[in-house]
């Protein structure tokens, strides 16, 4: 069977076609050189608004907008004292909610490991971020800066940061914002309480406490108050995650004002981890 061919049957036709194509190309090139610079509105595709272009929290106009005076200013360093939070679980969040079977099994595995003197999926030890909510309960200062439009919290350990936006914006469309360990936090004032809602949390290597994962459906509502003449920050966490537990998981923690010191750099560094006895052996991490 003869294979089909695209060879022109007549050489004259081919020459004519090539010449016509060369002429068209040259014409287009000449026209392109003569095109004046764009005038007036751009084509429709370029006019589409970029969803990331919006007044930033540090934009002068945004900062200068008239807003009610907030009931308190969290600016300062806040220290988590485990002894002060023993009743609520120290580094955990007690009492626990009714865990779903997979989360319950994982929690029990962590408990068994602890009883045997072994770490269980100690991702923080492998330099993964603590993320929310654990980044709030490290025994390192949380440097907090409050502006009219946002609150910035910098956890000294690993330099983990969270931004709580107060300028009235809605949650960012999760379709254009990557999930993160601190999540997407939007705050609003309710009387003398700051209410913060956090969503879009990254579930990978992210834990709420020993063995209980922070899932992709985790949502954290915090009700933050200043008490004790401003010396204590109180934060009630109301956590929901239908994948991992039933209903609301509620826990209240307290921090004391710790303004007699500044924070420093404290990254988790792989080479330092390689020499520390607790983290040099991978079996201590996983």
């Amino acid at each position: 069977m003869t294979q089909p061919t695209h060879e022109p049957r007549c050489p004259r036709v081919a020459v004519a076609a090539a010449a016509a194509l060369a002429l068209m190309t040259a014409t287009v090139a000449i026209d392109a050189q003569n095109v004046p610079p764009p005038q007036g509105p751009a084509p429709a595709a370029a006019q589409r608004p970029n969803p990331l272009d919006k007044p930033g929290a540090l934009a002068k106009d945004n900062l200068a907008k008239s807003r009610p005076k907030p009931p308190f200013d969290l600016t300062g360093n806040w220290m988590y004292n485990p002894a002060q939070n023993r009743d609520s679980g120290t580094f955990g969040y007690l009492p626990l909610p009714k865990l779903k079977p997979a989360a319950q099994a994982s929690y029990e595995a962590a408990q068994r490991a602890q009883a045997q003197g072994k770490a269980y999926k100690n991702d923080e030890g492998a330099c993964w971020p603590a993320g929310m909510p654990q980044m709030m309960t490290r025994v390192w200062p949380n440097q907090t800066i409050q502006l009219p439009t946002m609150i910035v919290m910098i956890q000294m350990l690993k330099g983990e940061i969270r931004w709580i936006y107060l300028d009235g914006r809605p949650h960012e469309d999760a379709d254009i914002k990557a999930a993160s360990y601190a999540g997407d936090s939007i705050g609003r004032w309710e009387g003398k309480t700051l209410v913060v809602e956090t969503t879009n949390l990254e579930p990978k290597h992210h834990w709420i406490m020993g063995g209980i994962p922070a899932g992709s459906q985790l949502k954290i509502v915090e009700r933050i108050r200043l008490i004790d003449d401003g010396k204590t920050m109180e934060d009630t966490f109301i956590m929901t995650d239908p994948e991992n537990w039933e209903g609301e998981w509620v826990n209240t923690k307290r921090w004391f004002r710790y303004d007699n010191s500044d924070i420093e750099e404290a990254y988790c560094l792989p080479d330092l981890n390689d020499r520390l006895p607790a983290t040099a052996d991978p079996s201590n991490i996983r």
Partner: protein, 132 residues
């Protein structure tokens, strides 16, 4: 003998504190791999002293019972915590002969969590407390 492993089981008062001590107050990792009920006393020569966060680390060369040199890796608290208890970046240097008391790893590897250091001149430096 330069390694004096002291396994003093103080079940009454210390049992209560043991759980607290096992909590790594400044750690970025779990602390369950250290045995809070044991102390190991090591006399050796400083090979490495890294004054860094989140943990200061020390390596000392210790001669064991068989005459072999063993490098012990010691994990301490944060720089701020140690500075508050008297430590400085200049506190240790290569070649210093020191005695270190620590809580050893449960698995027997030569590593420990710092309890205190006794310098050659007798000065004692503690483990530091929490970061406040």
């Amino acid at each position: 003998m330069n390694i004096d492993v002291i396994s003093r089981m103080r079940f009454h008062t210390l049992l209560v504190f043991a759980l607290l001590l096992s909590i790594p107050l400044q750690a970025h990792h779990s602390g369950v791999m250290f045995d809070p009920m044991k102390e190991v006393t090591l006399k050796g020569t400083v090979k490495e002293f890294v004054f860094a966060n989140p943990h200061v680390s020390i390596v000392i060369a210790v001669i064991d019972d068989k005459g072999q040199v063993v490098d012990w890796s010691i994990e301490a608290a944060s720089t701020q915590s140690l500075v508050r208890s008297g430590w400085r970046k200049s506190s240790l240097k290569f070649g210093d002969v020191v005695t270190i008391v620590g809580r050893p790893l449960r698995d027997g590897r030569p590593g420990a969590q710092l309890v205190r250091v006794i310098l050659a001149d007798g000065t004692e430096l503690g483990r530091g407390g929490p970061n406040f």
